[in-house]
């Protein structure tokens, strides 16, 4: 176990190094000029520009800048965001606290609905219900999250006016000031948009695994012992579907992160996804690098948790001493 953990940590360090180098290189190669993006419409003199470049250290060679940045990171200093003029760590912290709520809600929703729909589809295998769920999932799976987001906005905000058009709180209020009911109202649509694609994936997988379980010898035996369909699902089906479900659910964290960027953009939800887009468009390299590292870490943690849970949940690994 200790060896495995050490290996995981080593893998993580390698991953973070690779991510930071690639992100840095991409930012270097991008046509966006940081100073231009920063000053926007204003025009400034060449001297002024040189001053800003010197201040940000932009005229040093790329390798030097990367090494400097990496050295600071090792000391726990993620640098300062150029557009927010705040330490990168605090920008990420603030915005992530909004994003994590959004992601958590949609993660739970896609897990719960995915499991339920998958079970129902499998229980009524081959029926109209099963087919309807399958078609629904395939449709959803092939539609991009932002498109779904816009449809939801059109229906629930524009046409019906039930839910707000965007942001995380009513206009004129910070999120902290807004009452809980408002905050919930603001999170529903983006969370829904974010969860829908996840739901279809989980539903289809759960359905597939449950169908496999229903065709197994132990399902036959359960029937021969007088267990009804739902008794089988409760007593045997669930425990056999749970393992792949756990892997899938935690593995979905990476897609969730990617999806949140789109959902937050569509719903102008001021979370980390939104900031990611801003930092990329404005060439805020320290912030962009910081977010890249942070998201890599987040996804890595998700996969690690999935692995650990899997080995705890599967008796064949837990008590059999087999490794994953």
């Amino acid at each position: 176990m200790a060896k495995k953990l050490l290996l995981s940590i080593l893998k993580m360090i390698l991953l973070l190094t690779a991510v930071s180098i690639i992100t840095f290189a991409l930012a270097e190669l991008s046509p966006i000029d940081t100073v231009n993006a920063y000053i926007g419409e204003n025009s400034i003199s060449a001297e002024k520009r040189a001053q800003i470049e010197a201040y940000w250290g932009l005229n040093e060679p790329a390798v030097t800048r990367y090494l400097k940045w990496a050295g600071n990171i090792l000391h726990g200093d993620m640098g300062t965001s150029m557009i927010y003029r705040k330490p990168v760590a605090s920008v990420i912290g603030e915005r992530f606290s909004l994003s994590i709520k959004l992601m958590f809600v949609s993660w739970v929703m896609s897990g719960v609905f995915g499991l339920l729909l998958g079970l129902i589809a499998s229980a009524y295998r081959g029926s109209v219900i099963d087919k309807a769920i399958k078609v629904y999932c395939l449709l959803l799976e092939s539609s991009p999250a932002f498109w779904i987001g816009m449809i939801l906005l059109l229906i629930f905000s524009v046409k019906l006016g039930w839910l707000p058009l965007g942001l995380a709180s009513p206009i004129g209020m910070t999120v902290e000031e807004a009452p809980l009911s408002d905050r919930i109202r603001h999170i529903i649509l983006p969370a829904l948009a974010l969860s829908l694609t996840g739901v279809s994936k989980i539903t289809l997988q759960v359905r597939e695994k449950m169908n496999q379980a229903a065709e197994s010898d132990y399902a036959l035996f359960a029937r021969a012992r007088g267990e009804s369909k739902w008794q089988f699902i409760r007593r045997h089906g669930l425990r056999n579907v749970m393992l792949p479900f756990i892997t899938l659910q935690f593995g979905a964290l990476s897609e969730l992160f990617g999806g949140s960027v789109l959902a937050e953009t569509v719903f102008t939800y001021p979370g980390l996804g939104n900031v990611t887009v801003q930092s990329a468009l404005k060439g805020d390299i320290p912030l962009f690098l910081g977010i890249a590292l942070f998201s890599a870490l987040f996804v890595f943690a998700g996969n690690l948790i999935a692995n650990i849970l899997y080995s705890v949940a599967d008796p064949r690994i837990r008590e059999g001493g087999h490794s994953i």
Partner: protein
């Protein structure tokens, strides 16, 4: 107990599977053509027959657990009543019990004790069954992958004896068991039969069948070709009618393995 009371009566049943070939064409694969068996109260009926002769399919047909592409013809009666799906709902699992052929019928992720108890078994019944089949108490908490082949087999048998069975369909219950355990199982079957149970035991092992069973039905290629008492068998070759059964008799060790290969003989006979 009434030795004349019929518990299970299978009359001229046939089973075929609808097979889908490449593309849209399909054909029916008939695996049981015309099977007849009768099990009385207190009787142990052994079914012998080559691999693939349709023994397991028969048991599954009685239990109503054939796959959906199977179609069944003929009649199955349980205690005089036609065994319909609604009657099955009532009886299968409580009175009609199966001991499956392989240990893969155990749920790989459920502990043995819980599996043996099933829906209705009590703790006492579980402990009693485990004691009887020499299973340690610690085996209750074990998953199938932690059991040896013989232990898993005994767990399977325990699942059956925990109920108030009237009819036990045992699909090769003894392979993998030690001689003692196999003998204990047979003793137990006899005990259950004496209490009024009917037992249909599928086996490859004619010797074992002869020791434990009252009646022996011989299957060949989806048909019951012979049905005789164990006594007929013991009396010797001349008491047996069908050439295939005679060949089976000759192949027994104490009869000197007169191995006129049974299936060879069969080809000549038909």
């Amino acid at each position: 107990m009434n030795k004349d009371k019929i518990i299970l009566e299978v009359e001229d049943i046939s089973v075929s599977f609808r097979m889908y070939d490449k593309g849209l064409s399909k054909h029916d694969l008939t695996v049981i053509k015309k099977l007849n068996v009768t099990v009385h109260e207190g009787e142990i009926l052994a079914i012998v027959g080559a691999s693939g002769s349709g023994k397991s399919v028969l048991a599954h047909a009685v239990l109503g657990i054939l796959p959906s592409n199977a179609s069944v013809g003929g009649e199955i009666r349980y205690c005089g009543k036609q065994l319909t799906n609604s009657l099955r709902k009532e009886k299968v699992g409580s009175e009609i019990i199966m001991i499956p052929q392989s240990v893969t019928y155990l749920d790989p992720l459920m502990k043995a004790g819980k599996q043996v108890r099933g829906l209705k078994g009590t703790k006492q019944q579980l402990e009693e069954a485990f004691r009887r089949y020499g299973l340690d108490k610690s085996a209750e908490k074990k998953y199938p992958f932690q059991l040896s082949g013989g232990m898993a087999r005994r767990v399977l048998i325990s699942t059956a004896v925990i109920s108030d069975a009237k009819l036990i369909l045992a699909d090769e219950p003894t392979p993998g068991l030690s001689e003692d355990m196999a003998a204990e199982t047979m003793r137990h079957f006899r005990e259950l039969a004496d209490q009024g149970c009917g037992i249909l035991m599928i086996t490859h092992d004619i010797e074992a069948a002869l020791k434990a069973a009252d009646t022996i039905a011989v299957f060949y290629d989806g048909e019951t070709i012979d049905c005789c008492t164990a006594d007929d068998f013991r009396q010797g070759r001349d008491a047996l009618k069908h050439p295939y059964t005679k060949a089976l008799w000759s192949a027994l060790p104490e009869n000197g393995f007169l191995s006129a290969d049974a299936s060879e003989l069969m080809k000549g006979a038909l």
